[in-house]
């Protein structure tokens, strides 16, 4: 049914360079959350800290009452069995074919017979659309296939938490939107907690229930999708609408001169909020909120034209 991830006052630096400081958020159980941020703001580092591959300098990551950041190695390996992770390039084991790759966690962690393993592996391969490619080696297939194979491997142990490290990097827009649909369908099916790290705006605008934005070494904002998409906060607004006007510059922050020059420029109006992507069955996910609910409850007027059917996904298109 999914597990909540509680992150408290997390700080991480490599040597003298600070990555981010005092990040506090709770990723709600069973919901899809997206973590956004300009390149190089430590989104992947955050992901690796959540699974305990990197130790934070300060702070806690609490999952089912266990603090990942300080628990002993043995407990860490136990708690990791709750996780499924999709790495950027799939991280398939190069020496094994796809079937053995997907079967690997089952063979290592369970006492299932080969025929049971076969059933599970084939089911997951089918789910990600890779039936017929079991005998291929990871080096022989395309990047998109490797990602899907990585997803299949992340799914075999029925994880409670699924983490995606840039599922859309290096994929064409069509494959990206298929993968997004797969993510939404999966969430509807297994109700696990999903955290997606990305900088693809289309994904961020339409897939998640919650959005977070890492910027300038801190968490700028984290909250329901509609809250961020209707936010007037300059950083959030600039990033979510892919604009040049705003505090984010080419390299990290803009300096005072540039900001001064932009001062009188009018910000373009907020684009309308698109509808959230539905599962392909058409039945809303358990954690899905009705369109416009957050805006209504909090008395925020969404930008005109929001939640219209068949709206173009690409901002400015």
């Amino acid at each position: 049914m999914g597990v909540e991830i509680q992150i408290e006052h997390l700080t991480k630096s490599f040597g003298k360079s600070l990555i981010w400081k005092d990040v506090t958020l709770t990723i709600p159980a069973g919901e899809i959350s997206v973590m956004l941020g300009p390149s190089g703001t430590g989104k992947s580092v955050l992901l690796k800290t959540i699974i305990g591959l990197l130790k934070p300098n300060e702070g806690k990551v609490i999952i089912e009452g266990v603090d990942i950041a300080s628990c002993p190695e043995k407990e860490l390996y136990e708690i990791r069995k709750l996780f499924g992770v999709l790495f950027q390039d799939g991280a398939m084991f190069g020496s094994m074919n796809l079937y053995d790759n997907v079967a690997f966690p089952l063979r290592e962690h369970t006492r299932k017979s080969e025929s049971e393993i076969r059933n599970i592996v084939m089911e997951k391969m089918d789910l990600v659309g890779l039936l017929g490619a079991e005998d291929k080696l990871p080096g022989e297939i395309s990047g998109g296939m490797r990602k899907r194979a990585g997803l299949a491997r992340g799914l075999v142990l029925d994880p409670e938490i699924l983490l995606f490290d840039e599922p859309d990097s290096g994929l064409d827009p069509v494959r990206t939107s298929f993968l997004n649909q797969l993510i939404v369908d999966l969430n509807a099916q297994i109700d696990a907690t999903f955290l997606i790290v990305t900088h693809d705006i289309n994904t961020a605008r339409t897939v998640p229930d919650n959005i977070g934005l890492l910027y300038h070494k801190h968490l700028a904002m984290f909250g329901p999708r509609e809250m961020l998409l209707s936010s007037e906060e300059p950083v959030v607004r600039q990033f979510l609408n892919a604009q040049r006007v705003g505090p984010i510059g080419m390299s990290e922050e803009k300096d005072a001169d540039e900001l001064e020059a932009e001062k009188d420029q009018d910000l373009p109006p907020l684009p309308p909020i698109p509808l959230q992507q539905d599962p392909s069955s058409g039945i809303p996910r358990r954690s899905q909120r009705p369109a416009g609910e957050w805006c209504r409850v909090n008395g925020v007027t969404p930008p005109p034209g929001s939640f219209a059917e068949g709206m173009s996904m690409a901002p400015g298109a």
Partner: protein, 261 residues
């Protein structure tokens, strides 16, 4: 500024400490079940397959050179009948372990470092840890053990091939007598010489395996990082092995008195 200098001076000590800590981790994981028999056998086979032929090819000239040196020297002393004994002693005591260390570090260790480095930068090791599997137990322990096993066998191979090379050189090219060569075999050499050679090979395999795995697992910075890791692992292993070889020889001479004819 002074702290930066101190950092730079102390950095190698930190690295040495981390390498040692890694060795301890490997030692601890050695006893964790389940033991990866399959991986161990595969790796042993792999390391053997990349080292056997080069080792044999290195051992022949090694034996010949020793025969050449010792043969000339011993002739001046007028003790030709001891040629066989001297060459056995040199091959079994020193040439065997040294040739083994060169090959295990150069061929076996570099292959391990490259393999682990590639896995590291492709995030395979991270993926493994995330799947709840300790890469040290799953990958490093079998490799280190395989390295040790193969090193012991290689040492035997070098001894046999080296002595045969020495025999051929001495008898066929230096006009030595086969009888004298064979008869003097045991005049100076003794059984403990063989044991110390095997002990050395075992330790060399351990060091080569651990250094290679450590360097590979800490590769950083993309494909170039893997190349650097392989390079560093070979250089570090060579230096360590020659020092350890010296120390072990010195200890051996203290413990085992030389045989007097």
């Amino acid at each position: 500024m002074s702290s930066a200098t101190a950092d730079r001076v102390l950095a190698p000590i930190g690295t040495a400490g981390k390498l040692f800590a890694f060795g301890l981790d490997v030692g601890r994981s050695l006893f964790k079940r389940p033991f990866q028999t399959r991986e161990f056998l595969q790796q042993a086979w792999f390391i053997a397959s990349v080292t056997i032929v080069p080792t044999a090819l290195v051992a022949i000239p090694f034996g010949a050179v020793i025969a050449l040196q010792v043969g000339g020297l011993i002739k001046q002393f007028g003790a030709q009948s001891f040629t066989g004994s001297a060459s056995v002693l040199a091959v079994v005591r020193e040439a065997g372990p040294i040739a083994t260390s060169l090959l295990i570090a150069g061929a076996g260790g570099s292959a391990i470092a490259a393999d682990m480095g590639a896995r590291k930068i492709r995030e395979e090791l991270d993926a493994m840890m995330v799947l709840g599997i300790d890469p040290i137990q799953r990958l490093v322990v079998p490799r280190v053990l395989a390295c040790m096993l193969v090193a012991v066998f290689l040492n035997g191979l070098v001894s046999v091939v080296g002595v045969m090379g020495g025999y051929f050189f001495n008898v066929v090219l230096q006009d030595g007598t086969p009888g004298a060569y064979l008869a003097s075999f045991t005049a100076l050499a003794q059984l403990p010489d063989l044991y110390q050679g095997m002990a050395k090979a075992l330790v060399f395999g351990l060091i080569a395996g651990i250094v290679a795995a450590y360097k590979g697992m800490n590769a950083a910075g993309g494909p170039k990082g893997v190349g650097d890791a392989v390079n560093e692992s070979v250089v570090i292993t060579f230096m360590l092995l020659f020092v350890v070889n010296f120390v072990m020889s010195a200890i051996y001479f203290q413990l085992v008195p030389p045989k007097t004819g």
